[in-house]
């Protein structure tokens, strides 16, 4: 069987997720040995033409040009996987969806008329079919390797969609919300980070977006009981995954 071809694409994003692939120091050689890295500008100037077997897509759609480009990429890719909060939920830049983008451009750019941008930042799945979404801001290295591995072996990746609390309990952290009243998004956030923040006395920031059956409203009610103001609740829900439907619905309710 000929080796499969991997492409890594970038849209509106910070590059952190695709750099996770380069950060796979120990595994990178085995990955490069198992799959042809055909298109990955961050890593190599060599570009092999499509079609591609596996496309990893980072970033959200924010310009008319990108909205067209993702269509071409989809056509060229047998399997398309989004990586990270931008590609999966629109990213932090989706905060523009609640504001007037022209106001931003007029403040930031000397010649705003040169800027061609959409009013919204949207997830890749709003534009094309997506085969799998890898969560996180940034994604987890271990999950990325698992995903590529599962892909190469034609099996389903083992990436549980349950809450961060499951990881928090497994590592033995006494829950900070229960023991200290610190608001934590862990119960409604998709696992994957290993529950790092609660282990350092911080509430979960929701980097991996909503968990599989997130009851955000019930958590919001509890937070209010802890003394969290509506504005702070809205701010907590409107970060990297602000436009994930489960978070957006509740942040809109309290905004």
């Amino acid at each position: 069987m000929s080796r499969r071809k991997l492409a890594v694409w970038k849209f509106a994003s910070c590059d952190g997720c695709q750099l996770t692939l380069l950060d796979c120091e120990d595994e990178l050689l085995s990955i490069a040995g198992a799959i042809d890295i055909a298109y990955f500008p961050e890593a190599s100037t060599t570009e092999v033409e499509g079609p591609y077997d596996l496309s990893l897509v980072e970033g959200s759609i924010t310009t008319p040009h990108d909205a067209e480009r993702i269509q071409t990429i989809r056509e060229q890719s047998t399997t398309l996987v989004t990586i990270g909060a931008c590609a999966t939920a629109g990213g932090i830049q989706a905060l523009r969806n609640w504001a007037d983008v022209r106001e931003f451009t007029s403040i930031v750019y000397a010649e705003p008329s040169f800027i061609s941008t959409l009013d919204t930042s949207t997830a890749i799945s709003e534009h094309v079919d997506v085969d799998f979404e890898l969560r996180g801001c940034p994604i987890s290295k271990a999950q990325l390797v698992e995903l590529i591995n599962a892909y190469l072996n034609d099996r389903r990746p083992y990436i549980p969609a349950h809450s961060v609390c499951m990881e928090c309990k497994a590592r033995g952290t006494p829950c900070i919300m229960v023991r200290d009243g610190v608001p934590c998004l862990g119960p409604v956030t998709h696992a994957g980070c290993g529950a790092i923040c609660p282990a350092y006395d911080r509430g979960c920031y929701g980097c991996f977006g909503p968990s599989e059956s997130a009851n955000v409203e019930a958590l919001a009610q509890w937070w209010k009981g802890l003394g969290v103001e509506d504005l702070d609740l809205v701010r907590a829900l409107r970060t990297f995954n602000a436009y994930a439907p489960e978070f957006k619905e509740v942040s809109d309710r309290y905004a």
Binding site: P174, V178, N215
Partner: protein
């Protein structure tokens, strides 16, 4: 052997004796603002002078203003993390000259001693014994931890607001299943520890540690301290008819009401000392080696009931109902006892304070009227 009394130094000698006899000694200690179970080497590692204030979704350590060694109740972790760890490697699989080599990683060889285990927790271990040792299949990880496990129990002389062991018949007094049981006695301002053995092993340890025979008055004080803990317990669960109540009411509206509050986060199941569910997954490297790993799982997850990828229990109400019905009803069919020992962890460590005792009250009220 008659019960003996020792002072705090006597308990230090006990801990040292266990360590010198080859045990890995694990006991309560304070970390991250809570009492957890970890390695201890003397009584100063214990939560000295600490108590706790617990309610649904709330836990705070409080300073008791004394030097009691056992003046608190349960924290978020249970002993199950040592017998049934959150992650266990089951198999190592690799290729060698075209053949698959499958190896079982070694299990524990050094015995553990659990120091400071409470009545409800002894009951939880005997429940997990049924699951992992006596159900026709012996789990090698659990069995290796359980082998020669020494249990130094503590009778509770205080209870948390979330404890309801009296209703479940598991505490606050330790009735059986331990090697040694300690009762903390505050006597004329001087704290003494009544130590009694229930096994030969326990007796020989007490003999080695030394102490003085307990006086009748001390025995009576210990008994009344435990009795008043039982009498003062705030929470309770009326277990009368509970099996029929749950089995006959799968469509009770209360399931939907609790589902509105439940986050399906799984904390209750992870904190529960009897919950035993796990998932098995292979961690495979690209060069073809695999580690088969068992991880704690929860009936609150969607994958848990997935058949051909689709969950059987999709609604939150069906998942909460599964958990509670299993704990309090179908566990009897499966293992011949309740699956709940009344420790209250699922109440305290539920991030939104959902209370299994309150759910039973609510269902009973509406069903009987």
């Amino acid at each position: 052997m008659d019960p003996q009394t020792v002072d705090r130094h006597g308990l230090d000698r006990l801990i040292t004796h266990l360590a010198e006899s080859g045990f890995e000694v694990i006991g309560p200690t304070v970390r991250d603002g809570a009492v957890i179970y970890d390695h201890i080497s003397s009584t100063s590692d214990l939560p000295v002078g600490q108590g706790d204030a617990q309610e649904g979704g709330q836990y705070r350590l409080v300073n008791r203003g004394d030097s009691a060694l056992f003046g608190y109740n349960l924290g978020p972790t249970s002993w199950k993390q040592y017998l049934f760890p959150p992650k266990t490697e089951l198999l190592h699989i690799r290729r060698s000259n075209g053949d698959l080599v499958i190896e079982e990683p070694p299990t524990r060889t050094r015995p553990m001693a659990f120091f400071g285990i409470r009545g409800c927790e002894l009951a939880a271990i005997s429940i997990q014994d049924k699951v992992f040792l006596d159900s026709g299949y012996v789990d090698r990880t659990y069995a290796s931890g359980r082998k020669d496990l020494l249990l130094v129990a503590v009778n509770c002389t205080t209870s948390a607001a979330t404890c309801f062991c009296t209703s479940m018949g598991t505490g606050p007094k330790c009735e059986s299943g331990y090697d040694i049981v300690i009762t903390e006695l505050v006597d004329d301002g001087e704290t003494r520890y009544l130590v009694a053995a229930d096994t030969e092993r326990g007796e020989s340890i007490i003999t080695a540690v030394g102490g003085s025979p307990a006086k009748d008055e001390q025995l009576a004080n210990a008994e009344s301290a435990v009795q008043s803990t039982a009498a003062d317990m705030i929470r309770s669960m009326d277990t009368d008819g509970i099996y029929d109540l749950l089995i006959e009411n799968p469509d009770h509206p209360r399931w939907e009401q609790v589902a509105e509050r439940c986050l399906t986060c799984g904390n209750c199941t992870q904190a529960c000392p009897t919950c035993f569910c796990s998932d098995v997954a292979d961690r495979v490297t690209l060069d073809g080696t695999a580690i088969r790993e068992r991880r704690w799982d929860s009936c609150f997850g969607l994958d848990f009931s997935a058949l051909n990828r689709e969950p059987v229990r999709e609604s939150t109400s069906s998942r909460y109902r599964q958990w509670m019905t299993h704990k309090l009803a179908t566990w009897h069919d499966q293992f011949g006892s309740s699956g709940c020992v009344g420790c209250g962890r699922c109440i305290t460590w539920c991030p939104v304070g959902i209370d299994i005792t309150e759910e039973i009250v609510a269902m009973k009220e509406t069903v009987s009227t």
